[in-house]
Symmetry: C2
Subunit: 503 residues, 2 copies
């Protein structure tokens, strides 16, 4: 293996080098996978309650004041996302770990199902079982909540799978430090050695995906990166699932009624698409407004009044954002507002472009995500043109509808048109926030994710890392605990077709 | 499109031509997909109870005595599976349609989940939604239960998806007739035009998979066929899921205790691997027995006493079974019993081969499925060698353990070793029967299926054809019925994290 020996850490505010993070050697990657494989049975056999203790301990270690202070400072240096946001994000990451612990312990995700014996066969019982070691590729833009200890790692461990996470090159020093915190916390909590490991470097990532020890891959990031891993996994002898959550152009439909409160909509749109310097996978990238509603001017006014320039995470992202703006202009976009980024460091101008609705057709470059503080406005002439545009949109993670209230008849129609194309549709709320809760769906039709039936946030995130097994005529003591007659885990189970809610 | 204008129907008992079934033209395939697309919203919007009526009506039409008589006779002519078996299979197919109707109507598969609003966001609700038109490629070996009106079609319609099924070339006239029955039954039941269509011919199958109208593919058959469709779907601009249930070598472990009742085990094994002339995807293809247990001789004795030669479905399958036996011999198998097939028509000799356990390693040709009445016996020296062999087995649909009763300590160990490698593990029961019930899992790790988290039989079969969507702040009247406040479908739902069992 030819490895880059180190990954350089940079300060996005200046472009200056902060330090070097060592890449894993081949032997280190092998060891991480070997440890994960060896402990997989122990992680799977631990009860959900035991795994919940591990996750709670990890959350507590993250929030230990000195550790949190250090992590937030390090994250801010490497990402320039700001301490306020990063403080909230670390709290969110800890909350997520506790949420997945709770969901794991509640146990419905196990789908325990028992059918009595019949004249034709002995008793049949079915339960979800952990897949084994999961390779996690965290995101650049949420170093805590979607990073090496984010939703993917938390939900994989809750589901009984060891994790080998790859450090993100946009925050290599933070990744390394988070890995140390996790290994120490899990050890303190009594989790088996290997339940979590961190590896670093591009080659380490490739090695994780092709290794016969890896059972699944979770990824958050760009389409280019996600599809590359998906292709690599599909070339294996034993193909494994890749849950790649990728960037999309998330549309917002403003109904004619919604357009009557355009100044409010414009302010919300500007705030949402520039949040985190536009580095949200749920960024509203396209505002569809009724013709003549004055949306462009309204958003421009907000941006010129209140846009607060920020930095982009990497030099490459800054270059790609500039290229993306140029591409949108070539494809027919007209710049209607542009606020320069900070003078120093890595940035792109906050940019609003107006595009013709007729140009929003399948395959148009206008519908390719431009990561950063960049968004489009398009005017639709009437309901028919809106329907045509919505019909041409590729799959997206989220969409919003801005209405004039619950009785807006056009809002219901827009929800109905958007639902088949997205993972989540919001009314009179912006798509940017992704709540971690039972009903969340953070996914969407291809190419929003490589596995549109899955979610990377919310209770169902655990279900990515399991596979059902049916047991036929198996003596009670040889069944997994979830299926044993005395229901030792107190699960809600389906018995003879009827749900029996656990104690 | 260059089409074979017809598919020839043959009598396997003689190899003689029975007739010709017309292949679909390009225009006919387009029309089927167009109808499916146009009616997709209506099929999705129908309540589960309405769709249950459609499926019940289809079951009733299949079982109408004159129709059933005609279908069974036609199936027997094209498949030579015998009227007794086919009569039972038609009843099973009708029962399946009613089972999926019941599961659909019960509604837990919708996963309706409601989270109340919080300070951070409005109410969030999540429900599974039908994907849209599903292309169904039925199996050769179960013309009713896994054919064009089998589990895939029944579960897809129950889940709210229109189906375009492809006629199977091993029973083209039956497929055509079943298609007519289905179209008439669904029309009589009030289902929208296009809820089910049949197309025929190889090119029609390719067209289904590449069509932008197709949302998912379900396939039952060989690895070669399943993987070809999977690759084709992965090359699309918008990749769609392919649920390919493929053939495997299903292992049976006889424990030392189980070997004490070898004559019973041998009789069961012989009956199971020759059932349906070995044309079961759950055929036990490999019997692992303790060294010195005399299994080969015992099975040979049963075969020589009672093997009832039958026919194989197609000339190609017969040729491949002969090739497969030769391949197994070349790979180190020794023929210990061979009973010739019928003199006329398409068949292969019922064949038992003994193979060295040491030869059962990853990639060995001994571990490639040989479809037909062919099975292997391998002796293991001790528990360590058994563990090594089980560790090398590729993913399979099912496995069995033959023990000396519930207290056999080796049985629990074998279950534990087999569970990670199969979709279903049975103790003291043969794998051949696949009960249609809530707890069934008919799938297994790659390459048993292309989607190991899914099942093609049982209640969870519906879940292949849905995708979740979350609704955030959406007014009650604009939500899907499954999520509306007054719960019009009477579903069991998760509300604020707690399951509320429906009325």
């Amino acid at each position: 293996m030819t490895t880059t020996v180190t990954t350089t850490s940079y300060d996005p505010r200046t472009g200056q080098v902060l330090g070097e993070a060592r890449s894993s050697t081949t032997a280190e990657v092998d060891q991480a996978l070997d440890l994960a494989t060896r402990c997989a049975a122990a992680v799977a056999d631990a009860s959900p309650a035991e795994r919940a203790v591990w996750l709670h301990t990890l959350a507590d270690h993250l929030e230990e004041p000195a550790t949190a202070h250090e992590l937030i400072a390090l994250a801010d240096r490497e990402t320039a996302l700001g301490r306020v946001r990063l403080t909230a994000e670390l709290a969110r990451a800890a909350g997520q770990l506790r949420f997945y612990a709770k969901v794991g312990d509640e146990g419905s995700w196990l789908g325990a199902t028992l059918d009595a014996s019949t004249a034709m066969r002995p008793a049949l019982a079915r339960v979800e079982q952990p897949l084994g070691p999961v390779a996690v590729f965290g995101a650049s833009n949420f170093p805590f909540a979607f990073g090496v200890l984010g939703n993917d790692t938390a939900s994989a461990i809750a589901a009984g799978c060891p994790v080998v996470a790859k450090a993100h090159p946009a925050h290599p020093l933070l990744s390394e430090r988070l890995g140390e915190v996790a290994v120490a916390a899990l050890d303190a909590a009594g989790a088996p050695l290997g339940a979590f490991s961190l590896v670093a470097g591009f080659d380490a990532g490739t090695a994780l995906v092709v290794s016969r020890h890896t059972a699944a891959v979770a990824f958050t990031g760009s389409q280019r990166g996600g599809l590359a891993l998906w292709r690599l996994a599909n070339e294996r002898d034993v193909v494994i699932p890749v849950f790649a959550e990728m960037g999309t152009v998330n549309p917002v439909v403003v109904t004619p009624g919604g357009a009557t409160r355009m100044s409010e909509v414009a302010a919300g749109f500007a705030a949402s698409f520039t949040m985190g310097t536009g580095q949200f996978c749920t960024k509203p990238g396209l505002l569809l407004v009724p013709a003549g509603s004055g949306a462009s001017a309204a958003v421009r006014a907000v941006l010129e009044r209140s846009a607060r320039p920020g930095w982009l995470l990497t030099g490459q992202m800054a270059a790609e954002a500039h290229d993306g703006i140029a591409r949108l202009v070539r494809a027919g976009g007209q710049v209607v507002a542009q606020v320069p980024g900070p003078e120093q460091g890595w940035s792109a101008p906050t940019t609003l472009l107006e595009v013709p609705a007729a140009g929003l057709t399948g395959g148009s470059q206008l519908l390719e995500e431009c990561f950063g503080p960049v968004a489009l406005v398009a005017e639709y002439a009437d309901a028919a043109e809106l329907a045509t545009v919505l019909g041409a949109l590729p799959g997206a993670l989220a969409a919003s509808v801005m209405s004039c209230g619950p009785d807006d008849p056009d809002a219901a129609a827009a929800v109905r048109a958007l639902a088949p194309r997205v993972g989540r549709v919001a009314v009179d709320d912006w798509p940017t926030g992704v709540a971690v809760d039972w009903a969340q769906q953070h996914g969407g039709p291809w190419p929003a994710t490589s596995a549109p039936a899955s979610t990377s946030v919310g209770a169902a995130a655990l279900c990515r890392f399991t596979r059902p097994v049916a047991y036929q005529g198996v003596p009670d003591h040889a069944l997994p605990p979830a299926l044993q007659a005395d229901n030792p885990w107190g699960l809600t189970r389906r018995v003879a077709g009827v749900l029996e809610v656990g104690p």
